[in-house]
């Protein structure tokens, strides 16, 4: 009998699957952060985020050993999208979002904004005017309450943001979630053909607006974002009518929004999650135009500009200077032909000095605030 029971137990034991080996989270974190394939990083990041509390200590250990800015954006997005509401996850996202040096703080804040938890509203409220446009946009989205009528306040103010990218990001999100307050912005963005130093940023606004419009207007809009406004005129006309008929809202006529044709001979674009982005272009006759849009300019003193112009070879840089991960300074010059991307703490001394002199010239030209904005960002990019 004993033998029979033993044999039966043994057979039973063999039939059972062995217990799964515990996941080696350190290995998974390494894979999520260091795999050379972005697809593998995304998959491992999702696995870690789904495990939430169990994997977070390994992630924090990796971050401590390698630096928080070595974390790829994919893992922050994974926690934002798949991490759930575990207290450890909320603490992790909150810590990332409030670390002003962290490259992916906007993605972390997005994770909190999408969760719509009341305890994060103070964070959203004090972040609604952050210098980084995507960060303040997610703060405003976090403050929006479904079904709330927008009458004043930071969300509505966001639709008047000085950065046209922030306007369309917020308008698109609101529209996709049933709030038509930014419909006019979307209509304008669909016609946006503007560029900055060769970068077609207006077309990106157009695609963002198109994606939002497609969430509400069903059927094939026959709108081709690769084509300009004139070539899309019939489709734009239908969208315009839909806005007016269905939403009873005023939107601008679909007219092309284009560059002015002003002859810029150089400029810089500073993308800084820390300080916010800064855009400057200049013309050969010594006018500096700040911002993506050509709404105002600063006239430099002719003698000062002449000297700067003569010394512009200081801006002759290689195509890539330093290791760009997120924040970067892009510089473009016609003569000599320069198109460079520079990482933080990598801008050579000669170019830094030239740009500092430009800041001084801007201040001399009467715009102390703009000069200070440039100086602040140069401190991030100047090589030590």
């Amino acid at each position: 009998m004993f033998r029979l029971l033993t044999a039966a137990f043994a057979a039973f034991a063999v039939a059972q699957d062995p217990p799964p080996a515990p996941t080696d989270w350190a290995k998974e974190v390494e894979r999520a952060c260091s795999s050379p394939r972005i697809g593998l990083r995304i998959a491992a990041g999702k696995k870690i985020a789904t495990a939430a509390g169990a994997a977070i200590p390994a992630l924090q250990a990796w971050s401590k050993a390698n630096g928080v800015n070595a974390l790829p954006v994919t893992i922050v997005e994974a926690f934002a999208d798949h991490g759930g509401n575990d207290a450890a996850v909320l603490e992790l996202l909150g810590g990332w979002a409030q670390d002003v040096e962290f490259y992916w703080r906007a993605q972390a804040l997005r994770g909190l904004a999408l969760r719509r938890l009341p305890q994060h509203r103070p964070l959203f409220a004090r972040s609604a005017n952050d210098p980084a446009w995507l960060f303040r946009t997610w703060a405003r989205i976090g403050l929006w309450v479904d079904g709330q009528t927008l009458v004043g306040g930071p969300v509505l103010d966001g639709l008047l943001d000085p950065d046209p990218r922030a306007q369309v990001e917020l308008a698109a999100w609101l529209f996709s979630n049933g709030e038509p307050a930014g419909a006019g912005i979307l209509m304008g963005a669909l016609c946006d053909e503007r560029t900055f130093l060769g970068d077609p940023w207006g077309r990106r606004r157009c695609r963002k607006a198109l994606t939002a419009v497609q969430t509400r207007i069903t059927g094939n809009l026959e709108f081709d974002p690769d084509k300009d406004t004139r070539e899309n005129v019939e489709s734009l006309s239908r969208i315009h009518s839909w806005f007016i008929d269905r939403l009873q809202t005023r939107v601008p006529e679909p007219l092309p929004v284009t560059d002015t044709g002003r002859a810029f001979v150089g400029g810089i674009e500073i993308a800084s999650c820390r300080h916010g982005d800064l855009f400057l272009r200049w013309t050969a006759d010594g006018f500096v135009w700040p911002g993506l849009e050509e709404t105002r300019s600063v006239r430099l003193r002719p003698a000062t500009w002449q000297k700067l112009w003569q010394e512009r070879t200081a801006l002759r840089l290689a195509e890539q200077v330093g290791v760009v991960v997120c924040d970067k300074l892009r510089l473009r010059l016609d003569d000599p032909a320069v198109h460079a991307a520079v990482a933080p703490a990598a801008l050579p001394a000669a170019a830094t000095d030239w740009l500092k002199q430009l800041a001084a010239a801007i201040e001399e030209g009467g715009d102390r605030d703009l000069a200070e904005q440039l100086r602040t960002r140069l401190r991030q990019f100047a090589a030590p």
Binding site: A43, V323, R332
Partner: protein
């Protein structure tokens, strides 16, 4: 020139004469991709065709050295987050050839391959491109 050489060169000569099909991310990213889902006909039609497509060069992993492979994406600013897999063209230069990552918009020409590629049973690419030229 022997027959073997002709046979080897002929396809290359034919390829050299083929006008690239101009495509864009508006086409490649025009749908919501899910693993295993059939791709739109207009996207599948580009498989193994010589195409030209404009976008921004990005490294698959951070670094500073010239690269033999790069991602072509639609958005210059990584701040907007990770592109979806159908918003990335994985570009490979010929064996031994490298390039710097250029700032600004580039146009890449080469043979496009369309379809899910897996590693460790995970989809790692939808679009790969053997690069002939980066301008």
């Amino acid at each position: 020139m022997n027959a073997t050489t002709v046979a080897t060169l002929l396809p290359l000569l034919l390829l050299a004469g083929e006008d690239p099909i101009k495509t864009s991310f508006a086409v490649l990213a025009s749908f919501t991709w899910e693993e295993g889902k059939e791709l739109p006909a207009e996207v599948k039609a580009l498989d193994e065709k010589i195409v030209s497509i404009s976008g921004f060069m990005q490294r698959e992993v951070p670094g500073g050295a010239p690269v033999g492979q790069f991602l072509l994406i639609n958005d210059a600013c990584g701040c907007n987050g990770t592109p979806k897999l159908n918003e990335i063209v994985f570009c490979a230069l010929p064996e031994g050839v490298t390039t710097d990552i250029k700032p600004g918009v580039v146009t890449v020409t080469g043979k496009l391959y369309v379809g899910e590629q897996k590693e460790d049973d995970i989809v790692i690419a939808l679009y790969t491109l053997d690069v002939d030229e980066v301008k």
